[in-house]
């Protein structure tokens, strides 16, 4: 009897220990090759099986399975959702690092932070740590491949080069502006709109569920920017004002962490015109809050961001993303916590009431 209890206790301890060891062992402040990321996803789905699961939603050109982590408290009915994808561009290694960090953060905080718990109850988070897996793996191959950007689809007949720029391939004003028709160039938009399996995977998966999604965040580097739709200089999103307001507030939240400044605006204003981006596609589907994050730095290291900057880069981006997500949530479900306006009124009323009682 006692022996049994002891065994059970030991078993329980090991299980708990194993779970915490997995969590403690994965170093979010190092860059990880694809096999490690895949294994990490499996671990997360195992260790948090009550709220996290893996969904496979497509194949890359080289036939790899594209997967996301779906995270949220299980509640009946269809839930609203948040989309985050990282690694559309292979060389932007800080982006997949951020997606993994983001997941670990929400899994840690929902148990102690009532706001996060509320959001997990009302929404599901869909996070794709590496969308362009073929490209990412290629960028890990050797020193000459590190700065690869596109996917790895071979070029069309007559063109000897590989790869399509996935962020020019989505069916959103495809091929109109900010692209190249030369398959050797880095902004080659592909044979046709959504010609690429990776872009198709997102379009198919989200297309079916577009009315559920409140928010679409696509993570890139570098530049320290928050870009809003659309990429075409003559087209404005219907909720441009809202996007700017939310974006500017998110940039403020980012700045509060480590003082880094992120500029906010449309691509054509801040950076360059472009078409066929995933963000534009998402906005055109009706997902109201679509943002491109361009993470650290501003060109000093560029794509080769040192590992000792992964933590601060992720911390600040997390605050920015969280602001947008919280806004999206509160807009739909009502803000349980005091909003900025209410806070201001609090101060004014306090002053008013105090002076009234003095008189």
């Amino acid at each position: 009897m006692l022996y049994c209890a002891a065994l059970c206790f030991v078993a329980l301890l090991s299980a708990a220990e194993a779970a915490t060891i997995e969590r403690a062992e994965y170093d979010h402040y190092k860059y990880h090759p694809m096999p490690e990321i895949t294994q990490w996803m499996t671990q997360i789905a195992q260790n948090y099986s009550d709220i996290a699961s893996i969904e496979d939603y497509g194949k890359t050109y080289e036939n790899r399975t594209i997967s996301l982590l779906k995270i949220g408290l299980k509640t009946p009915g269809t839930k609203k959702a948040i989309w985050m994808d990282c690694g559309i561009h292979a060389r932007e290694w800080i982006a997949p690092a951020f997606c993994q960090y983001f997941v670990s953060q929400i899994l840690q905080t929902y148990k102690t932070d009532p706001k996060m718990e509320e959001m997990m109850k009302n929404m599901d988070f869909y996070v794709t740590p590496v969308l362009n897996m073929d490209g990412y793996i290629y960028s890990w191959k050797n020193n000459t491949t590190r700065l690869w950007r596109k996917n790895r689809t071979p070029g069309p007949a007559g063109c000897n080069c590989y790869g399509t720029d996935l962020n020019r391939n989505f069916d959103a004003n495809w091929g109109s502006v900010g692209v190249s028709r030369d398959c050797c160039e880095n902004i080659y938009c592909g044979k046709g709109a959504a010609s690429e399996p990776e872009a198709q995977a997102v379009a198919e998966y989200l297309g079916k569920r577009k009315n559920d999604f409140l928010c679409f965040l696509t993570i890139h580097s570098y530049g320290q920017l928050l870009l809003i739709p659309y990429g075409h200089p003559n087209i404005s999103a219907p909720n441009y004002d809202e996007l700017m307001e939310v974006g500017l507030a998110a940039a403020e939240a980012i700045k509060e962490v480590h003082g880094m400044e992120y500029a906010v605006g449309t691509s054509p204003a801040i950076l360059y015109p472009n078409s066929g981006s995933s963000r534009d596609w998402a906005r055109m589907q009706g997902i109201p809050l679509a943002f491109t994050f361009e993470l650290r730095d501003k060109g000093q290291h560029g794509f080769l961001l040192p590992e000792d900057q992964i933590q601060p880069a992720c911390e600040e981006a997390y605050r920015g993303a969280l602001h947008i997500i919280t806004y999206a949530h509160d807009k739909t479900f009502g803000g349980a916590s005091v909003t900025a306006a209410a806070a201001l009124w609090t101060v004014l009323l306090a002053v008013g009431v105090t002076s009234a009682s003095v008189m």
Partner: protein, 295 residues
């Protein structure tokens, strides 16, 4: 005291609902109250055909061949300011002094009849080694013509020279006068640079600034992505001599451009470029490939 608190709380609760900054959720499909020139957002307009009506909008006019006062956060001023940064690095950069663009405070652009477009800028640059920031006034002229000549820059930032790096530069110079340094990948794939190699990385940025300055137009935004290779050659006329293979990144085209650079440096003379060569993109690297599906 307690009564006023109650009143205050009651009012607070009362106003909270109507004064929240959040927008009441509209029906997802139509939002006609939004920007007057925007596309009506209906389910049909999800627009898979890619045919979208092109509308004119006031706020983007300024960016089409921007003239007059510029928005400092928008790309025309930012690209011109980046050119100033390259110029400053060619003039004042060293293994111990390298500038980044901190901020654009204001900008103005003017069409100059036949000669080109002139930008006037107030910017702040930062020496990323000492972290000292300095304000500068600068003028950039992007000339007209096919092929386009390099931009010309004038800048006053005398304060920058007051960043004293003489001792470090002299020490590094003496240390390496009789060396044949060879290294590669600064930074490496993980963004790492051995502390001992940092001056070589800085020197790479300074030397490539000559190229970046030369190649810049209103349609480029250059940064040095990586020093692929460094070979130190024999010191000549008391100048350290280097052969660098450099990778530049142009943000606008997103291309990685390969250059070979032969240059000299000394604390007294700074960087002098002897030879530069544009290298072809490595297409042949990609054609013969056996992709092992190991993942």
């Amino acid at each position: 005291m307690s009564l006023s608190s109650l009143v205050f709380l009651a009012v607070l609760l009362g106003v909270n609902g109507s004064l929240s900054v959040t927008i009441r959720p509209e029906a997802a499909s139509t939002d006609m109250s939004a920007h007057p020139n925007s596309l009506p957002e209906t389910a049909d307009e999800a627009d898979t055909s890619g045919q979208v009506r092109v509308l004119e909008l006031e706020e983007t006019e300024e960016d089409v061949m921007a003239t007059g006062e510029l928005n400092p956060n928008h790309y025309p001023a930012q690209r011109a300011a980046n050119v100033v940064r390259h110029y400053l690095n060619t003039r004042y950069g060293s293994p111990y002094r390298v500038f980044t663009l901190n901020r654009v405070h204001s900008g103005n652009a003017e069409d100059m009849a036949d000669s080109g477009r002139k930008y006037q800028l107030e910017i702040s640059v930062q020496d990323f080694i000492s972290n000292k920031t300095e304000k500068c006034s600068a003028e950039v002229l992007f000339p007209r013509g096919e092929p386009q000549d390099s931009p010309s820059v004038q800048a006053s930032c005398e304060e920058l020279l007051k960043i004293d790096t003489k001792a470090q530069e002299e020490a590094w110079y003496q240390q390496n006068k009789n060396q044949s340094l060879v290294t590669a990948h600064l930074p490496d794939s993980y963004g790492h640079i051995d502390p001992g190699n940092e001056p070589l990385w800085h020197l790479g940025i300074v030397a490539s600034s000559f190229i970046m300055l030369n190649e810049s137009t209103e349609n480029t935004l250059y940064n040095m992505a990586q020093v692929a290779n460094v070979t130190q050659l024999e010191t000549e006329n008391d100048q350290l001599k280097f052969d660098y293979y450099i990778l530049l990144h142009d943000m606008v085209s997103q291309e990685i451009i390969h250059w070979k650079l032969l240059f000299t440096w000394s604390p007294a003379e700074g960087v002098k470029v002897l030879q530069k060569e544009l290298m072809p993109k490595c297409h042949h690297c990609e054609t013969v490939e056996v992709i092992a599906n190991t993942n």
